[in-house]
């Protein structure tokens, strides 16, 4: 068993880059995951989430950069580190010609565990498959396979759990089940969880920290408290003449709050209490305003930062 | 048939010129035959070796059965034997034709250091399998030391006989049977071989005389063999 060098920082990634021929899938990416985090890893399809997660799991070799997990270099301590990681990567593929029980037993052994019958059945019970333990996986629904995949990821009681797009292909009930499971893992079992998704609404309800990447680069990283801060608002402004309004804002004290445009609308990040002042400033400048809309869902932010090509930086105080 | 006609002519010439001599030869052959006829039947164990350049065979045990006048059987004691076609039936008993032949003196010679008289036997009728048989007879011991037999269907065979313990019965200890071995060729499709045998080795295996060698170790004579054995 690995003794953690760093109990606080479970994963530390610095300057991670992966190049596939001419394509840079991950570019100079740095982030860290702390103990007890449910770390939401957000990005559109093809943003580099899977590549990053596969590098964390040694499935892909980075072109450059460092990964340390539990305070150890992943390259040098691969085996010990992997012993403490459970993962479901995209589809939870298992051996279809084996039963749930056989699959679980086989992967437990590969994870370095000598599984007892009770232990395996308990695990299947936990993911709700005890009654189907001896049926071949061929006969399972997508949701059941996903639950088995999670059972397999957890069978060796790992400290860090990595779930790559765990809700793909699941029905609403399945999605809710996964969400609950992540909460149990985090709150009751005190596990650290990294969960990736291209859907923000899945993440926003459970993540304690969030990283948003696009085109292999970090757009924003921060705690949910910060990102979901009610005080932090995005003002969506619909006007007759964008350029004039932008000029007005740039010459005002709010210049730094200007965000990239979206759908032809001006976006401004503001604290809630500043909105009246900002409003007054705009009115005073004499521009024609059709509508002013305050948004505080991260969804907007997510869409905005991923749609904009701009590197935003860390969204923290 | 041409050969037969020639031989008939030969016989005719010999018949005219030396009929008295021929009679002497007939007497000699009959004496040899009489000696052989003392043996009504025998069983013998032997070791047989087939020596043909393109046949690799182990030495095998054989059992030979003979019953007068012309029943002969060579049985391999298990195993597989390869023998020149038709050759096996040519045995000492049938070297001397049972009926109707003319014996012609063809002079003296030596076989393995023993002086022998060369006698040619020609059948009266031309229907038989044997066309011409040449016997090299050791007159002192009334033993056939060598025979060369030309058959209608199966070519010419040469048999050399060496005697020991059973000489008094006219039975050889060792028979060396020579014949012309025609080599064969199999298409590779059948053998599924990628043929890379050295050419030298192949040539060595081509067109030589083949031999079958039988060493008899024990004879059991005149025990009254049943005919059933030869079936």
């Amino acid at each position: 068993m690995l003794l953690y060098k760093s109990m606080q920082q479970i994963v530390k990634v610095s300057q991670l880059t992966k190049q596939f021929n001419s394509l840079t899938a991950v570019n100079q990416l740095s982030f860290s995951v702390e103990s007890g985090d449910v770390y939401g890893f957000l990005g559109q399809n093809g943003a580099g989430k899977s590549t990053t997660i596969r590098m964390l799991l040694t499935l892909i070799t980075p072109t450059s950069g460092d990964i340390s997990i539990f305070g150890y270099d992943l390259n040098k301590h691969r085996k010990e580190i992997l012993q403490q990681i459970g993962a479901v990567i995209e589809k939870p593929d298992v051996y279809k010609y084996l039963s749930a029980y056989e699959n679980l037993k086989l992967f437990a052994k590969l994870s370095g565990v000598k599984p007892s019958n009770k232990m395996l059945m308990d695990q299947l019970e936990m993911v709700g498959l005890a009654s189907r333990a001896h049926d071949t996986v061929k006969t399972f629904s997508q949701g059941m396979k996903q639950r088995l995949g999670i059972g397999i990821a957890l069978v060796h009681n790992p400290q860090l759990i990595i779930l790559d797009e765990p809700t793909n292909g699941l029905d609403p009930q399945g999605i809710a089940d996964i969400r609950n499971l992540i909460l149990i893992l985090s709150r009751e079992m005190k596990k650290t969880v990294i969960v990736s998704s291209h859907l923000l609404n899945e993440i926003e309800q459970i993540a304690t920290r969030i990283l948003i990447i696009d085109k292999g680069q970090k757009l924003v990283e921060g705690s949910s408290a910060e990102l979901f801060n009610d005080q932090q608002t995005i003002l969506q402004i619909s006007v007759a003449n964008n350029n004039k309004v932008i000029q007005t804002i740039q010459s005002s004290t709010w210049a730094n709050n200007l965000l990239p445009e979206r759908d032809g609308q001006i976006m401004v990040g503001l604290n809630k209490e500043d909105i009246p002042n900002f409003n007054r400033m705009l009115a005073a400048s004499g521009v024609d305003i059709y509508s002013l809309q305050a948004r505080h869902s991260l969804e907007d932010y997510f869409l905005q930062v991923t749609a904009g090509k701009q590197h935003v930086g860390t969204f923290t105080n | 048939m041409k050969l037969i006609n020639k031989l008939t002519c030969l016989l005719f010439v010999f018949g005219l010129s030396s009929s008295t001599h021929a009679q002497d030869m007939n007497v000699l052959v009959m004496k040899v035959k009489a000696k052989l006829e003392k043996v009504k039947d025998y069983t013998a164990d032997g070791r047989m070796k087939t020596d043909v350049a393109f046949i690799k065979a182990p030495i095998g045990k054989v059992k030979v059965y003979f019953k007068s006048p012309d029943k002969f059987k060579l049985q391999r004691d298990g195993g597989i034997s390869v023998l020149p076609k038709g050759g096996v039936s040519i045995n000492i008993g049938s070297m001397i034709m049972q009926t109707g032949f003319v014996a012609i003196d063809a002079g003296m010679s030596t076989v393995g250091g023993t002086a022998v008289r060369v006698v040619k036997l020609l059948p009266d009728a031309d229907a038989g399998e044997i066309i011409l048989s040449t016997l090299y007879i050791d007159e002192a011991n009334l033993l056939i030391r060598k025979s060369v037999t030309t058959t209608r269907e199966n070519g010419t065979y040469e048999m050399e006989l060496q005697y020991g313990k059973y000489a008094s019965y006219g039975l050889p200890d060792k028979v060396l049977f020579s014949f012309n071995a025609k080599d064969y060729k199999l298409p590779k499709g059948i053998t599924l071989e990628f043929d890379d045998t050295d050419k030298a080795v192949k040539d060595k295996m081509k067109g030589k005389k083949g031999r079958v060698e039988i060493n008899y170790t024990a004879y059991t004579i005149n025990t009254g063999l049943s005919d059933a054995i030869f079936k």
Binding site: L82, I152 | K49, G79, Y184, L186
Partner: protein, 291 residues
């Protein structure tokens, strides 16, 4: 490693496909045996047609030893397909199923995973050969009995004494095992380049067929590369059934005519195995798993 091997074997023998090969072999051998039991004489006469013009062959040619030789001759051409079915699927099949990435996130070194997989395919191959031995040799011995082994080579005839045959079969089966492990290694190597099993299986068979054609054709250009093709050496098991003779053309029991050929072929096959498996390990250690 040992545990991993057990797991790989468990997976191999839990798949219906694995038993398909054993069933196929049973059926093939059964058909040959039945055919020779009913019409064996015809077959023997056909093979010996030319030879029988000048020689008469006495004895039980169609004995178990001969039947096994016929079976090996016919079957060993087709067994590579059955081996490719498993070996060429070892990596690609898991990539296709998606299990490869789960497997590789387990705390096992990639080398150990690859070697366990390769050894599992070797064990499968050996079991297949043992099954061929049981069905082709022992069952034939039981049905047809034993006697000397009469063989027609392309330019000469060999008769192996009954007591001298069995060890030759032991040798021949060991050699065949080596040849088939080479096939397994090739299939295994090719299974790295695809994420479906059909591709590598077809590729393995294609390589074998093309190389066999090159080995068979007697064209000077091909003759240059022939000695380096593994297919040329795969049939060297036949050399066990040829012995030396002494000056008197007597068979030397227990001898082999060209032991150097066997050693050379075994070396070539061994080098191929090392190359295929070595490259597989090397590639696999570096491979980015994108499936």
């Amino acid at each position: 490693m040992w545990e991993h091997l057990q797991i790989e074997l468990y997976k191999v023998f839990k798949r219906p496909r694995t038993y398909l090969s054993f069933a196929a072999i049973t059926a093939l051998i059964g058909v040959i045996q039945l055919g020779l039991l009913v019409d064996g004489k015809e077959y023997a006469d056909f093979v010996m047609a030319d030879f029988a013009n000048s020689f008469s062959v006495d004895g039980k040619i169609l004995n178990g030893y001969f039947i096994c030789y016929v079976i090996l001759q016919l079957l060993l051409v087709h067994v590579p397909l059955l081996i490719a079915l498993i070996a060429a699927d070892m990596i690609s099949g898991e990539a296709n199923m998606g299990t490869l990435r789960i497997l590789l996130t387990k705390p096992q070194s990639r080398t150990s995973i690859v070697m366990a997989k390769f050894i599992a395919s070797v064990i499968y191959t050996l079991l297949l050969l043992i099954w061929i031995a049981i069905m082709g040799l022992f069952l034939s011995m039981l049905i047809f009995g034993t006697d000397d082994l009469f063989l027609m080579k392309s330019s000469y005839v060999v008769i192996v004494k009954e007591s001298d045959v069995f060890w030759r079969y032991a040798g021949a089966f060991c050699f065949a095992a080596l040849a088939m492990v080479t096939v397994a290694a090739l299939g295994f190597f090719l299974s790295f380049f695809a994420e479906n099993s059909i591709g590598p299986i077809v590729a393995t068979m294609s390589v074998i067929i093309v190389c066999t054609i090159l080995s068979t054709m007697n064209i000077p250009l091909f003759n240059l590369i022939k000695p380096y093709l593994f297919t040329t050496h795969m049939i060297t098991w036949k050399e066990f059934f040829d012995f030396k003779v002494n000056d008197a053309n007597e068979a030397i029991i227990g001898s082999i005519q060209y032991p150097d050929k066997i050693i050379r072929s075994a070396t070539v096959l061994g080098v191929h195995i090392v190359l295929f498996v070595g490259s597989a390990v090397w590639l696999f250690r570096k491979k980015d798993i994108l499936s």
